[in-house]
Symmetry: C2
Subunit: 190 residues, 2 copies
DNA sequence: CGATGCCTACCTATTAGTAGGAAGACAACA
DNA sequence: TGTTGTCTTCCTACTAATAGGTAGGCATCG
């Protein structure tokens, strides 16, 4: 089935945000990409702030669903963590989405519309919570051995993932992502 | 002594880049901040690309000088690493420069002028090299115990530092930086 | 003198956003 | 059945503000 126009707009806008952030794209860019007039985009999303807010909302929801289904369908916490990292590794390798929308926006935090900033903050929190719960389960099963609390270890992982995405992008070296995260998860293993 | 106009321009532009990236500021912003006309800025820096290139060049040079003098004046590799992290911790805590210029620009890599992208890439490389040499010295002295090679461990640290800066910014929590980096350097200690 | 620093005044392209209309889909209804 | 009326989608055409950048003039200083 064909994608609806508003979904096409969101898809294009998302890849533009990933590429250049909130100030790195315009309605004209989207217009050109999907063959529609600028005014038609305003019909679907009255302001840029509203567009990005819907976009981030969708992204956060999809991420939460993905992480939740990972916890539900993959039994082993070690495999859950591996699957999460494999997702990003794939994104980086095939350049389909070589950066996290919320990480991108977090770097521009100070100039984001309030609502978007709030959403980004919540995403960082819920991601850390998910990782903390995975690490805690793994620790209880004796599969992980943590130096600090699951919550603190989760914050380290969140930072490592985003930092590794950034390094890979900066150096144009997709393999760098796993080179950084590999040792980081290896040391968690009991 | 008074700062020269071009240094004032660079200072303001740098804090604007840190806040919002390459596309997050304009000549008008600088003009307003230092009380000078837009055209006068063009007199000092003919194009925005040239301005940012000079700005990044200055930043990279200062960083290299700082790191070099740290290696020269601080004997212990462990103290060298601590001093490097203390520098960023201070920047984050007092909000003087809560993010790395090159990390900010790295996130926008795909839309940067070629010359600036090159400079950012080089900064990431030289930072990793410095950290690798510090880690190697520390390992040889028995002060560090590394799981992987100094080079790989350095890439992990670069990613951790930038990721921690990003998390601290995203959550608006300055203490998060050290909460992430503390355990990371602790595990390196023999 | 010439170079430097800063100015006024201007330019063109692009920005986000608006007003109002045409075309089609889809009911409700006589 | 045809005929409304409304809703959605997209359009042309426009706006005011801002973007980066240019031309040329006026002081000042070595």
């Amino acid at each position: 089935m064909e994608l609806s126009t508003s979904e096409k707009i969101l898809d294009v806008a998302q890849s533009l945000v990933v590429a250049g952030g909130y100030n790195g794209f315009s309605y004209a860019d989207i217009s050109e990409a999907i063959g529609i007039r600028k005014a038609s985009i305003h019909h679907h999303f009255p302001t840029k702030a509203a567009l990005v807010s819907v976009l981030v909302g969708r992204y956060v929801r999809q991420a939460q669903e993905g992480l939740k289904s990972l916890r539900d369908h993959v039994p082993d916490p070690v495999d859950q963590l591996d699957a999460y990292l494999a997702y990003w590794q794939k994104c980086v390798i095939d350049s389909s989405e070589p950066f996290c929308v919320c990480a991108m926006l977090a770097s521009e935090m100070q100039m984001l519309p309030d609502e978007v900033a709030r959403q980004v903050r919540l995403h960082f929190q819920s991601l850390a919570e998910w990782l903390a719960s995975v690490l805690k389960s793994g620790e209880e099963q004796g599969a992980f051995q943590l130096d600090v609390s699951p919550g603190e270890e989760a914050q380290i992982l969140v930072a490592s993932v985003h930092g590794a995405l950034l390094s890979a992008r900066a150096l144009g070296d997709a393999k760098l992502f796993l080179a950084i995260l590999g040792p980081q998860v290896a040391r968690l293993r009991a």
